[in-house]
């Protein structure tokens, strides 16, 4: 087959045929070429400039679709970079175009030098992933391609392979981190289900003629694959996820009514984005402001104060506030110091109850900062006493005193925020959650496409249908880890009695 295909690709095979029968010779298109790969090749996380590298035959297409034109080879050109589908402007940056073979990998390749925030980076990566024929590079893939093209000299190899090692390690740790959460469980569950589907189809192929495998097996697989596709599609179209990918870390300000949440928002944004009034319940909806805190993109949202209310509009506001807190990466819980119980020994109990009420549905991964507002209204002695009570509170979040009026404590708050964001976005080697999610999205998308092949071929050719499941599992496996043929056989022998 192999050589036949090769021969077919050459359109030069001449055949003596009567011309009238040949309508057109359209040989040029229709052959899926090599994969084009992309990845962030500078360090991840906070950095001034990030470099996204693309290599493979679709590199020129990628540059054109993101920047509208191809710059002169090997010349840095400043371009607007926008999403090919939504046309949304992602960044302005330097674009370099290296036609092969005079490039790092020997293939056509390109570099986007963009601003280093996770939001920009993930936006550009996502834009690349939306183009046909492009996929995220595997660890070390650029270097491997360069090797095979004979492009690296031997001293370069050592340094690069160390980099790849670090990258791989970081990815592994990142994957582990991700896998521990709910998302990890979802992906793992899908992988297991798909593994089972594939195993059952494989059993049907390899054994059904000799063994007792009922035809119903395939109908079950049909349903399971359909369900998987639906689940994965719903997951991908989840609005919050897309939003977070574009807008960075979600920080929510929460607390009871009139604790000074909106004042904090105004203080942080340094403009009166939220209407501030002493009337409790002024903020009835969620208010969002994109911010840059120490270089990290943040979507700061102010929420309605959490209280029981009979006002239906406010009730809805409270509901949304709770939802927002649930979904946030970081919650700033604002407490009015003057509302604390006057007896010091009651303070820990009060705070514990208060935090529990506000953060009741937040996940374990979520970070919290307790902001003790109106510090100008309590004495230094009282502050010290509260500080001591906080230490008695086990598992208490980081806390800081602040006066939105006098701005006392703002510096400390910003430092604390910055450090927390740093943890959330990861150190430079560990991909930020958003970047990893961009990878996940691409792989999920590819998996869904592959599963479609199963349905297409189910009644035509089961080998090709199974191929679709294999490819789907391969894509999912890039998130959750490779599934070996042995594991498929394990499922077969567990679920069926195979034996002659």
């Amino acid at each position: 087959m192999h050589f036949i295909s090769c021969c077919l690709r050459r359109s030069t095979v001449s055949i003596a045929v009567s011309r009238s029968l040949l309508v057109k010779r359209l040989f040029c298109s229709g052959w899926p070429g090599d994969d084009t790969i992309y990845s962030l090749s500078s360090g991840q996380g906070k950095c001034g400039v990030a470099v996204v590298r693309v290599s493979g035959p679709a590199s020129a297409l990628a540059v054109r679709r993101l920047t509208r034109s191809l710059p002169a080879p090997r010349t840095a050109s400043l371009r607007s970079i926008s999403h090919p589908q939504s046309k949304e402007l992602l960044d302005r940056g330097l674009v370099l175009w290296f036609p092969g073979p005079a490039s790092f990998t020997g293939e056509d390749s390109a570099e986007f030098h963009i601003h280093g925030g996770p939001a920009v980076i993930s936006g550009v990566l996502q834009a690349l992933g939306s183009l046909p024929g492009l996929r995220p590079a595997e660890a070390g893939e650029f270097t491997r391609r360069a090797f095979y093209a004979g492009k690296l000299d031997l001293t370069e190899v050592e340094g690069l392979s160390d980099l790849i090692h670090a990258e791989t390690e970081a990815q592994r740790r990142q994957a582990l981190r991700q896998m521990a959460g709910d998302l990890g469980r979802i992906y793992q569950d899908w992988t297991d289900q798909l593994k089972r589907c594939l195993a059952h189809v494989e059993a049907f192929i390899d054994f059904s003629e000799d063994e007792l495998i009922e035809d119903g097996v395939l109908n079950d697989v049909d349903r399971a694959v359909q369900q998987l596709q639906t689940d994965m599609e719903n997951h991908l179209s989840d609005e919050r996820r897309g939003e977070r990918l574009r807008s960075g870390v979600h920080v929510v300000i929460a607390g009871s009514t009139n604790a000074g949440k909106s004042s904090l928002l105004n203080l942080l944004t340094q403009r009166p984005a939220a209407i501030v009034s002493p009337t409790a319940g002024t903020t009835r909806d969620v208010l969002e402001v994109p911010l840059d805190i120490g270089g990290y993109p943040v979507l700061l949202s102010d929420t309605a104060g959490l209280r029981d209310t009979s006002d239906s509009v406010e009730q809805e506001g409270v509901r949304r506030a709770r939802q927002r807190v649930e979904q946030a990466d970081l919650s700033l819980v604002v407490v009015d110091l003057t509302q604390l119980p006057s007896e010091r020994r009651h303070v820990p109990v009060f705070l514990r109850g208060h935090l529990k009420n506000i953060l009741e549905r937040s996940s374990q991964q979520q970070q919290h900062i307790l902001i003790l507002n109106e510090s100008d209204l309590v004495s230094a002695e009282q502050q010290r006493s509260i500080q001591t009570s906080l230490q008695e509170l086990s598992g208490a979040p980081s806390a800081c005193f602040l006066s939105c009026h006098s701005r006392d404590g703002l510096e400390e708050l910003l430092t604390l925020l910055h450090n927390t964001l740093k943890t959330l976005c990861g150190d430079p080697l560990i991909g930020s959650p958003t970047l990893t999610q961009t990878r996940h999205r691409t792989h999920l998308q590819k998996s869904i496409e592959a599963l479609q092949q199963y349905h297409e071929y189910r009644d035509v050719d089961l080998a090709l249908a199974a191929e679709g499941l294999r490819l789907g599992l391969l894509s999912l496996g890039r998130i959750t880890g490779r599934v070996s043929p042995e594991e498929i056989l394990d499922v077969i022998f567990r679920d069926f009695c195979i034996g002659k």
Binding site: L8, V17, L212
Partner: protein
């Protein structure tokens, strides 16, 4: 015994007769009528010089290759080594068991049929033997796509053996000796080549003396420390009715060569007297009305469609389960903690692992005139009287008589990670292993390895470099790669799910994948077969590119092809290959519309249909295959000291590499636990070494 003409008969110039008795060989000029049990006809074609063999000087003869064992692996090894041009000696306990089907009387199936096709594409014997001996041909998985079609046949045991023996006895350069091997003759390794030891021949048992050779292929099957089990009885041996092989070989492998040895078990069902079966209580399974031959060079099978015999299907009952449970304390085979196969378990383990179910029992003919039936699915090791009780619980077998009881076999195997992909032991130059000794099960798996070990034993003895088959090219490549990279924990059997490029490695295109390379590079394929494959290749190529060149609108195609369903809008343009992908479109239909263009290719119309169907998918796989091939083409020297290699590798990776010692970068990349960074380092290392060697 009557010699059976092989499919490709070669004219003989000189007939030489060798009379062989245990451990002594006498050469005499004889006439065919004198032939008795131990006289076999040998035809020497090209090597007239070997006609001067004296019986007494077989020991002073130097052979290129000695093959020990005449089962499926041994037979293919002998045939393959001789096709390479090596002077080959086969040593077997009994000539009359060459080509014996020790277990099921059938060949092929899903995955296994792929192997038979590939063996045939490399000019092996198995496919042609199957076509000669088959008495019930059917293609499994007909409805599931040609990539997973399983060519399968029930065989006449006697015909299969006859063909195999006749074939080997008439193969040029081959000498056959009855005997047992006591020892391997070992010496120090040749410096400059990998390995600690080197084999230079064998020593026969019972004072039979030494025979020298450049290579030795061991295909001892289940005979390596083999033990037979029935009920609570254990007897040494590898197959019922045959003497056990010598303990010496086991000792050699274990203690002298220090190889890692494991133990596996398998079993076989009782054979039932046909006349004692009430077939009216079973359902009949008919063969294909038009048998498809295994071999690319056969147009027909030996058996005519009408001569074919049916199989019968019946089921186990709760009574069977009861007997298994009652007999389990009398069954030492299943009580032992030795790995048996999961896919071909005994009825005992099926009942114990999946209680309360009905299990299928196929009743298969043992031959055209045989008085026995083979109950596939009833492999068992309980005491004979319990076996009888058990089968009589099955519909149709209530009055069945057992002719030979079922029994279990436990045997040693050599952990195959100690082999190169060319099936030579890494630590012993010239010593090759093939078949069950490597932890596989099945005739086809054994024959595939035998062929490849024979090719390489022949090549190395004639100072040619050994060769590997890639996973991207063949199931044989997948089989060997799995064995040498991952080892086995249970008897290894081929499944199509093991091949990642399944839609490219199809039974229909094995000749294109292997025959051409088999002639041009490997040297194990006859010119005649090669030319045939070239013709097919050219014809396919031409027909496909013509198909590619025809572009018509869907409406026009519908028109041309008599209103066939094409689910495209009228105006969309399709080429001929795309149209041929439609289920209802056949190449014959295209040929009747485009007589001039496609008429000449009608002979390959089925192959064209398959090619068209898989065309886009094979193209997608091509890149992935090429990547794997690139990595496989970069070999890692076997003598690398991974633990001390001055490159940055984690201790974990070093230990994995040291343990497995992959032969190529590709094999290394597939090992669990190997990181991309490690591959980069290894790549660099290989590259640097290459450069150094060039300087």
């Amino acid at each position: 015994m009557t010699a059976v003409k092989p499919a490709e008969t070669q004219s003989s110039q000189h007939d030489i007769y060798i009379e062989i008795s245990k451990n002594s060989v006498t050469l005499q000029v004889s006439v065919p009528q004198l032939s008795h049990m131990l006289v076999r006809r040998l035809q020497f074609l090209k090597t007239l010089s070997t006609c001067s063999i004296e019986a007494s000087n077989i020991h002073t003869q130097h052979y290129d290759v000695i093959v020990v064992g005449g089962g499926h692996a041994g037979s293919e090894a002998v045939a393959a080594a001789s096709r390479i041009g090596a002077k080959t000696l086969l040593i077997t306990q009994k000539i009359q068991t060459i080509g014996a089907l020790s277990c099921n009387p059938s060949l092929g199936g899903v995955g296994k049929g792929h192997l038979v096709r590939e063996i045939d594409a490399l000019d092996g014997v198995m496919g042609r033997a199957g076509d000669w001996a088959g008495i019930h041909f059917s293609i499994l998985n007909r409805s599931k796509g040609p990539a997973v079609w399983g060519l399968r046949a029930q065989l006449d045991r006697q015909r299969y053996k006859d063909f195999m023996q006749s074939e080997l006895l008439s193969t040029p350069l081959v000498t056959i000796l009855e005997g047992s091997v006591q020892d391997l003759l070992l010496t120090e390794a040749d410096p400059g080549k990998p390995g600690k030891h080197k084999v230079y021949g064998i020593c026969l048992a019972n004072g039979g003396g030494e025979i020298h050779s450049s290579s030795v292929v061991l295909t001892t099957g289940t005979f390596l420390s083999g033990a037979l089990f029935m009920g609570q009885n254990t007897t040494p041996g590898g197959r019922m009715g045959d003497p056990p092989s010598c303990a010496g070989l086991s000792h050699n492998l274990k203690n002298v060569l220090g190889l890692k040895i494991g133990r596996l078990r398998t079993g076989t069902p009782p054979r039932i007297v046909k006349d004692s079966i009430d077939f009216s209580l079973t359902s009949v399974c008919l063969p294909d009305s038009s048998p498809t031959p295994f071999s690319f060079i056969n147009k027909h099978t030996h058996c005519t469609p009408k001569e074919q015999l049916p199989c019968f299907l019946t089921y186990t009952t709760p009574g069977v389960e009861k007997v298994v449970k009652e007999s389990s304390h009398l069954n030492s085979h299943i009580q032992q903690d030795i790995k048996g196969p999961r896919y071909c378990p005994s009825i005992e383990s099926k009942v114990l692992r999946f209680p309360g179910r009905q299990h299928q029992v196929w009743l298969e003919p043992e031959g055209l005139t045989s008085s026995l039936m083979y109950p596939q699915g009833l492999s068992m090791t309980m005491p004979l009287e319990m076996q009888l009780r058990l089968i009589r619980e099955i519909p149709g077998l209530q009055h069945a008589k057992i002719q030979t009881p079922g029994y279990g076999v436990q045997y040693d195997f050599v952990c195959p990670t100690q082999l190169f992909p060319w099936l030579q032991l890494k630590n012993t130059q010239g010593l090759f292993l093939a078949g069950q000794i490597n932890g596989t099960t099945g005739y086809e798996e054994a024959a595939a390895q035998g062929l490849w070990a024979g090719v390489n034993a022949g090549r190395t003895s004639l100072s040619m470099s050994p060769l590997s088959l890639s996973r991207t090219q063949s199931y044989i490549g997948v089989l060997i790669d799995d064995l040498v990279c991952h080892g086995v924990t249970e008897p290894y059997r081929m499944f199509t799910s093991r091949a990642e490029f399944r839609t490219s490695l199809r039974p229909d295109n094995a000749d294109l994948r292997l025959t051409i390379r088999g002639f041009e590079e490997i040297g194990c394929v006859s010119e005649q077969r090669y030319n045939k494959a070239l013709l097919v290749q050219a014809s396919l190529k031409q027909a496909l590119s013509t198909l590619q060149s025809i572009h018509l609108s869907a409406a026009r195609w519908r028109d041309k092809l008599g209103g066939v369903t094409i689910s495209k809008t009228k105006s969309s343009i399709l080429n001929g290959v795309e149209v041929l992908q439609y289920k209802d479109v056949t190449f014959q239909m295209l040929a009747s519309s485009f007589q001039e263009l496609f008429g000449p290719h009608l002979e390959i119309s089925e192959r064209l249909k398959v090619e068209a169907l898989y065309h886009p998918h094979c193209e997608k796989q091509r890149r992935e295959m090429e990547k794997m091939q690139t990595e496989e083409s970069l070999s890692l020297p076997n003598d690398i000291d991974y633990l001390a290699l001055p490159i940055s590798l984690s201790q974990e990776v070093r230990e994995i590499l040291d343990r497995v010692r992959p032969s190529t970068l590709g094999a290394a990349a597939r090992l669990p636990g190997i990181t991309p960074a490690a591959i980069v380092h290894l790549f660099n290392y290989v590259h640097r070494n290459k450069h150094r060697n060039h300087m």
